[in-house]
């Protein structure tokens, strides 16, 4: 078992640690009327485990999609692993995506395929042409996939249909699929939002363990402050598509986060205006700092309640 797991270890590139693996500069993205990201900048160094914190609609998913070239910014630049994404398409883009693993909230497995086949789809960028069924993949790839399944504790389920697994198991298959890419960066978009507390804890622990073992850079979006504090090395708080908080988690308490969150959001007049506008639109009346806090509290308290259960 351990021998196989070593297969999954990542070829950590050269390049100095000071050089950021992710460098986002002033990106703005709008979808019709709504602004998803506005003039957002972020750099992530190699090996960092970063949590993107924010409510739904704060731009977390959009930012993550930009980091994998699934969305293109209206303005600004995204540089991942030293490659500017703006001009990238075709084979070079796919090669870059291959180095960036992506874990989805809804797992996004093909339910009618076996678990092993789903994991193998993570190797598609390394083979030429389409694959149908298991016989299309080389034996080394199959062994590597089984190794990754072993790593996430699902070797015994390798030949089951993916839709027969529980949510937590499916997400672990999703992680194995991402590992199959031998990625240098792992992006996770609310990986535990659809899971029960117990599976959530398992999955989050697994991601962190793998990240540290393989020296992966991780950017993971979450909406629970507690979880973010206990899990990440660094927290980046998003709000209306802007970074409102960026700090190490060490020595940070939940109270700190809530305070900082509140202060930053109210210190900018422009944000206030946006918020008031959004607030009235949502029918919450005069919105402001307290409103935001209560909303965040709601999110955290619900997760705390879940944990108690």
């Amino acid at each position: 078992m351990p021998g196989l797991t070593s297969n999954s270890s990542v070829t950590t590139g050269s390049g100095s640690a000071a050089e950021p693996v992710i460098d986002v500069r002033g990106i703005t993205k709008t979808f019709g009327e709504t602004t998803a990201l506005s003039d957002l900048s972020l750099t992530v160094a190699r090996g960092e485990i970063v949590v993107l914190l924010g409510l739904s609609g704060s731009g977390k998913s959009t930012l993550l999609r930009h980091l994998d070239g699934l969305d293109r910014p209206d303005s600004g630049t995204v540089t991942v692993l030293g490659a500017p994404l703006s001009g990238l398409k075709g084979r070079p883009l796919r090669a870059l995506r291959g180095q960036v693993g992506f874990v989805f909230q809804q797992f996004e497995l093909v339910g009618s395929l076996t678990v092993l086949e789903n994991v193998l789809t993570g190797a598609l960028f390394r083979v030429r042409g389409p694959r149908l069924g298991l016989w299309g993949y080389r034996r080394e790839l199959k062994l590597a996939a089984l190794g990754h399944l072993d790593r996430v504790g699902l070797l015994a389920q390798a030949y089951q249909r993916a839709d027969t697994l529980s949510g937590g198991q499916q997400q672990r298959v999703g992680i194995a699929r991402a590992l199959m890419q031998n990625p240098r960066i792992l992006l996770a978009d609310e990986p535990v939002a659809s899971l029960d507390p117990e599976s959530s804890a398992q999955v989050m622990a697994l991601i962190r363990e793998i990240a540290i073992d393989s020296g992966l850079t991780v950017v993971c979006s979450l909406h629970q402050v507690d979880l973010a504090l206990s899990w990440g090395d660094r927290i980046v708080g998003l709000r209306h598509g802007q970074v409102v908080l960026d700090t190490a988690t060490q020595g940070l308490s939940k109270q700190n986060v809530m305070e900082i969150y509140g202060r930053v959001t109210t210190s900018t007049g422009e944000l206030d205006a946006i918020e008031t506008e959004l607030g009235t639109e949502l029918g919450t009346g005069e919105a402001g700092e307290p409103d935001e806090q209560s909303e965040l509290d709601l999110a955290t308290s619900s997760s705390a309640w879940d944990n108690r259960r």
Binding site: M1, L4, D68, L70, L93, R94, A95, L96, R97, G98, V100, G101, F102, F104, Q106, F107, E108, L109, V110, G111, S112, L113, T114, L116, E117, T121, G122, L124, F125, G129, P130, R131, L132, L134, R139, K142, L143, L146, G147, D150, L155, A156, A158, Y159, Q160, R161, D163, T164, G174, R177, A178, M180, Q181
Partner: protein, 561 residues
């Protein structure tokens, strides 16, 4: 509706606020009026085709006299019968597979979520409509001219004509997939083709297989008529028998075809149920074995996929299917050389068909004939709708008073679906004589099999909530049906009815070939008399009508969405 909306307003502000007006879009009014006009036209058509019960009863003596003359029904020699049956099945199967093969790229282009561009989408959809609009009989007529006699014209005619429906249903299936797995493959650096094979295909495969099987049933029934233009198989033998007034043999072959269709329908519906309801088991012997292997950590052994029951079954089915296809190719004895020589015939054949002309007839005669065909289609559709609402409703699980009633009506629908319309028409023509009446009745009975089934399925898919609410309020079974089930199924009924009209216009043409009235009679005459320019004219008329109905249906679906 307006009343309930008014009340809370009135409570809040004491002033009387006018009830909000129900705003109706002008487009909806236009669509509604069109619908009313269509129903009126159908009723008028029904009157014009002159179906009179007394006449039917009177002709009953005709029928008895006819069957007396036929005497005992006879069959071809067993060996020959077996060969003909295998040939027909093989030919139809190859045609359907041909269509399925070419439908894949077309569906990929036509589906909104996979299409590389709007232009490609439009082209692919137009090709689909075009292949659907040209009747397979006409295609067979053309191919019989270009290829040496044999099975190839039939395979190609069935194949090309089926592309339209299969590619449309394939595309619909692609549009209904879960986009997530595709996105995951893109995020992992997969190409568009890899996305399709690993993300899309596994999701749509069960529905695609169901579509192909369904179309294969349709094609088997349709293959009978191809015999009338010279395509080998049971249909050809039957047409020879009827032309030589050997009714006893003709009816015998018709009976064989009917049995074949019913058997095929049952087989394919069994396969469809297995495919769609493929229950994944986690408790198979192989699963348990593997779990044990996993526990001991022997990863190397796990690299071989275990032979679970499901895998074994799939493999056996797969091998069987492959053998059937190989057998079909073998029995059809395809002259592959024809694909090389056919090109030299192409200009010559094209010259025969172009330019279109009215031949020995003048425009009004042909237009009247086309009008008659449309009238038959409309009349048959309205009859089918009325009958299907009754039979289809009783065949729906949530409407039928008891499971036994549902089973009974489902059986009626399967039986009706099994009867090739053409055989129905021939029998009716024998009974009631040549003319539109026989065609209309044949079409309307045949349609019940399809529309009744579609309607029953749609009714079973409606939301259960409103039905339960009404039942809880003490409504009778009929009140529940009228108040909850039927309104929810209305949209589906409109959609299916247009599909029926669309099918009936083509079918009405074809029925004309055996004397069911309308433009089909001229089509057969023109084909047999080598007046191919007239064939082109008739095909163009059919094309225009079908495209118009298609457009109308699309508009209706959009407005009443």
């Amino acid at each position: 509706m307006t009343l309930t909306l008014e009340r809370p307003h009135a409570d809040q502000a004491d002033a009387v606020i006018p009830a909000p007006q129900r705003r109706v879009q002008p487009e909806k009014i236009a669509a509604g009026l069109t619908l009313v006009a269509l129903v009126a036209a159908s009723v008028l058509s029904l009157i014009s085709v002159d179906i009179s019960l007394p006449q039917m009863v009177a002709s009953w003596s005709n029928a008895t006299r006819f069957f007396d003359r036929v005497g005992v029904i006879s069959f071809p020699a067993p060996g020959e019968l077996l060969y003909l049956t295998a040939l027909t099945v093989g030919l139809v199967l190859l045609g359907t597979l041909f269509a399925a093969f070419f439908s894949v790229p077309l569906a990929w282009l036509a589906a909104a979520n996979t299409s590389p561009g709007r232009g490609w989408m439009a082209v692919a959809r137009f090709l689909g409509v075009l292949t659907r609009a040209v009747p397979d009989v006409v295609l067979a007529m053309v191919f019989v001219l270009m290829f040496s006699l044999g099975t190839l014209p039939g395979i190609l005619a069935i194949g090309i004509h089926s592309i339209g429906m299969i590619s449309k249903m394939f595309a619909d299936a692609i549009e209904q997939i879960d986009e997530g797995p595709r996105l995951a493959i893109r995020a992992a650096g997969g190409t568009r083709v890899q996305e399709f094979f690993s993300g899309v295909l596994p999701q749509v495969l069960p529905s695609w297989v169901a579509t192909v099987l369904h179309r294969n049933d349709i094609n088997l029934r349709g293959s009978v008529i191809l015999g009338y233009v010279g395509v080998a198989g049971l249909g050809l033998e039957m047409s020879y028998a009827f032309k030589s007034l050997n009714y006893s043999l003709g009816l015998g072959i018709a009976l064989v075809i009917f049995a074949l269709c019913v058997v095929m329908e049952i087989v394919s519906s069994a396969v469809r149920t297995v495919m769609l309801g493929l229950a994944p088991t986690r408790q198979g012997i192989g699963d348990r074995l593997l779990r044990r292997l996993g526990m001991t950590g022997q990863t190397a052994d796990a690299s071989r996929r275990p032979w679970t029951y499901a895998r074994l079954r799939n493999a056996v089915w797969g091998v069987l299917a492959a053998l059937i296809v190989i057998g079909s190719v073998w029995i059809c004895d395809i002259k592959w050389g024809d694909f090389l020589t056919v090109w030299s015939y192409l200009p010559e054949t094209a010259a025969k068909f172009w330019p279109p002309s009215f031949g020995n007839y003048d425009a009004p005669v042909m237009l009247a004939a086309m009008g008659e065909t449309i009238a038959i289609a409309l009349a048959a559709t309205i009859l089918t709708i009325v009958a299907s609402i009754v039979i289809g409703s009783l065949a729906a699980r949530n409407v039928a008073p008891s499971p036994r009633v549902r089973a009974g009506f489902r059986l009626v629908l399967v039986t009706i679906r099994g009867i090739p319309e053409i055989i129905l028409a021939i029998v009716l023509i024998v009974v009631t004589g040549l003319g539109t009446q026989a065609g209309t009745i044949a079409l309307s009975i045949g349609g019940i099999g399809l529309l009744g089934k579609l309607l029953a399925d749609s009714l079973e898919e409606v939301k259960r909530g409103p039905e339960q609410a009404l039942r809880a309020a003490g409504a009778t079974r009929l009140q529940v049906y009228a108040g909850a089930t039927a309104p929810q199924g209305m949209k589906a009924l409109i959609g299916h009815s247009f599909y029926m009209l669309d099918t009936n216009i083509r079918a009405a043409t074809i029925l004309g070939l055996v004397g069911g009235g309308g433009v089909g009679y001229y089509l057969l005459n023109a084909g047999q008399g080598s007046r191919y320019d007239l064939v082109t004219t008739i095909v163009l008329m059919i094309l225009v009508t079908v495209v118009a109905v298609e457009g109308l249906a699309m508009w209706m679906r959009r407005v009443f969405r």
